[in-house]
């Protein structure tokens, strides 16, 4: 087994960086915008906010040139609802924001889950709560990305570690949204977003199509919850009922019937939960002989992988798991790491969010230690992670 492998469902390649690709020097934000364009995004509505604004600026220039529509909305609430409308009109819709704007979008995301509307929200994390330190890196939105809406609901959350990931996962996010009729969050952070790096851009990328309603089936019913029902488009000649209230397979409101609600809410959750193995992606480094482990995402994954190289000459065998979906998490490699390792360290630019999931997955197989660093946008450097790993190994 190689020391480093990507984990993606169905044996597909995780990275789109292939031989023959064109090299670009892009920031993470530019790579997100270009990935969205490559995936066929043709509608953007948003409100500028640091540190996500470069995505909006790039798409403001590029979308109209490519036949798409760009709108600066009056706020983030309007932005996400414009995405819902554009998506039902047949568009591929994406917006980008940061902490305070992401909070405002939660209501619209809940409606999008309930109405099974494909769309992508990019949240470039900064330091909160409130307006916090607006231009500085943080990773405090993980739980909000997963659980920010009211009610029982699941969506899909991707987390890039590099500019290359920003391109690749933007494509993947759009495709997942379309294929499953589910809103998807691309959870970046300031460090990833503002670091300029090499990006290998393939000549073309696969574009998944949403299931289209053509008069057969029901737009809000699927016998197999893993498969999204066919979606009618406005203006295609079909009567479309669409509501954020509980509805049956036709879209007709049933706001008191327990069976209708139970059936709908369970199917919406199962659509993500039963596809978890196929959706979960990540990387693993050196798990086969790991004596100690690190689980890290986003920008901190880069420091964790570099820490592994620092520790190797010191005789410390560090295994690293990098989840690139935060929901669903790639649980199997984390579980495998917990079975092997004497301890797992979870570095975050937050005061303990991912660590809670790692504790749940490790389930007592080994101790799990969080390392949080917040303030000023400073990363946890490889030397800091290596120092903490040495402490727990001792």
């Amino acid at each position: 087994m190689s020391a480093h492998r990507s984990v993606a469902g169905g044996g597909e390649r995780l990275s789109l960086a292939v031989v023959g690709a064109t090299r670009k020097l892009w920031s993470g934000n530019v790579a997100v915008a270009e990935g969205a364009l490559a995936a066929g995004v043709d509608f953007y509505a948003g409100y500028p906010i640091t540190p996500s604004s470069a995505i909006m600026e790039h798409l403001a220039r590029e979308l109209p040139k490519r036949g798409g529509t760009f709108l600066q909305a009056e706020d983030e609430i309007a932005s996400v609802f414009m995405l819902i409308g554009a998506s039902w009109a047949g568009g591929r819709a994406l917006t980008a924001t940061s902490g305070p704007g992401f909070s405002l979008m939660q209501e619209g995301l809940g409606i999008a889950i309930m109405t099974e509307t494909p769309l992508v929200v990019v949240d470039v994390m900064r330091l909160g709560p409130g307006t916090g330190q607006a231009s500085k890196a943080g990773q405090g939105d993980l739980m909000q990305a997963r659980w920010g809406r009211h009610g029982d609901q699941h969506l899909v959350v991707y987390a890039p570690t590099s500019a290359q990931d920003c391109f690749d996962l933007a494509v993947r996010a759009v495709n997942t949204a379309e294929r499953l009729r589910v809103p998807v969050v691309l959870l970046s952070d300031e460090l990833v977003a503002h670091t300029w790096e090499d990006v290998a851009v393939p000549e073309e990328v696969h574009r998944a199509e949403r299931p289209r309603f053509a008069g057969e089936g029901l737009p809000f019913h699927s016998d197999d919850p893993r498969i999204a029902p066919p979606m009618p488009g406005l203006g295609e000649g079909h009567g479309v009922l669409m509501t954020g209230s509980t509805h049956d397979g036709r879209g007709v409101r049933f706001t008191a019937d327990p069976f209708v609600h139970r059936t709908l809410a369970t199917r919406l959750v199962d659509k993500v939960r039963l596809n978890a193995d196929a959706l979960a992606v990540g990387e693993e480094h050196g798990l086969a002989d790991a004596e100690v482990g690190v689980v890290a995402y986003g920008s901190m994954a880069r420091s964790a992988v570099a820490a592994r190289e620092l520790l190797r000459p010191q005789g410390v065998r560090l295994g690293v798991v990098v989840p690139k979906t935060l929901w669903p998490l790639p649980e199997e490699p984390i579980r495998r790491l917990a079975e092997r390792a004497r301890a797992i360290v979870v570095p975050e630019l937050a005061l303990g969010q991912l660590v809670l999931d790692v504790e749940r997955i490790a389930a007592g197989r080994c101790p799990v230690y969080g390392v949080g660093k917040i303030g000023g946008g400073l990363p946890l450097f490889p030397s800091e992670i290596a120092a903490r790993v040495r402490e727990v190994v001792r």
């Binding site: 090299r23 020097l25 670091t195 300029w196 790096e197 090499d198 880069r302 992988v305 450097f381 030397s383």
Partner: protein
């Protein structure tokens, strides 16, 4: 830094062209097929406070793009010097503008002082600060940190092309 990676810091004050210099350097290395990572100041700090461009360059993929310690650092304004000194790697090359004044550096750090700002003040009155990073890049090319031709190519042919080339040549001669 991981094995084979070199870290570089260009520092000065907001409005001086530190971000532009970082981008030029990144483009020069990138055009040679090297792996490069660039982070630079943005937002409120770009006018009037210390500003840094942080670069990592390597022949192989970069593991961690976030600069912890610099192997080469250029400081073009005294506002930035206190933030740079703690970040120097052992044996680093520290290039200072003469107006920064005397500094106390860790043992093993090689210090080069050049009159970038004063030279530009004489040659291009009124635009001293904004030209000095290009002189410094020319100086770095003479020291082998970056090759001269890709650096010149990175300037492109936009407005100021000829003046910028001249500044890089002049910096090269100061090496």
């Amino acid at each position: 830094m991981s094995k084979g990676e070199q870290g570089l810091l260009i520092s000065g004050v907001g409005g001086q062209g530190i971000v532009f210099a970082g981008r030029l350097l990144a483009r020069a290395w990138f055009s040679q097929g090297k792996h490069v990572a660039l982070r630079h100041a943005y937002g409120a700090e770009v006018m009037g406070t210390a500003v840094h461009s942080e670069l990592v360059v390597s022949e192989s993929p970069i593991l961690c793009p976030y600069l912890e310690t610099a192997d080469v650092a250029v400081v073009l304004h005294r506002a930035a010097v206190d933030e740079v000194l703690p970040r120097l790697a052992g044996g680093a090359l520290l290039v200072l503008d003469a107006e920064v004044g005397p500094v106390s550096v860790p043992d093993g750090v090689q210090v080069e002082v050049r009159p970038f700002l004063s030279w530009v003040e004489e040659a291009q009155p009124g635009d001293a600060g904004r030209a000095s990073p290009l002189l410094a890049l020319g100086f770095l090319s003479r020291r082998g940190v970056v090759d001269l031709d890709p650096l010149l190519a990175a300037i492109g042919v936009d407005a100021g092309f000829a003046d910028n080339r001249e500044l890089i040549f002049r910096g090269h001669s100061l090496g």
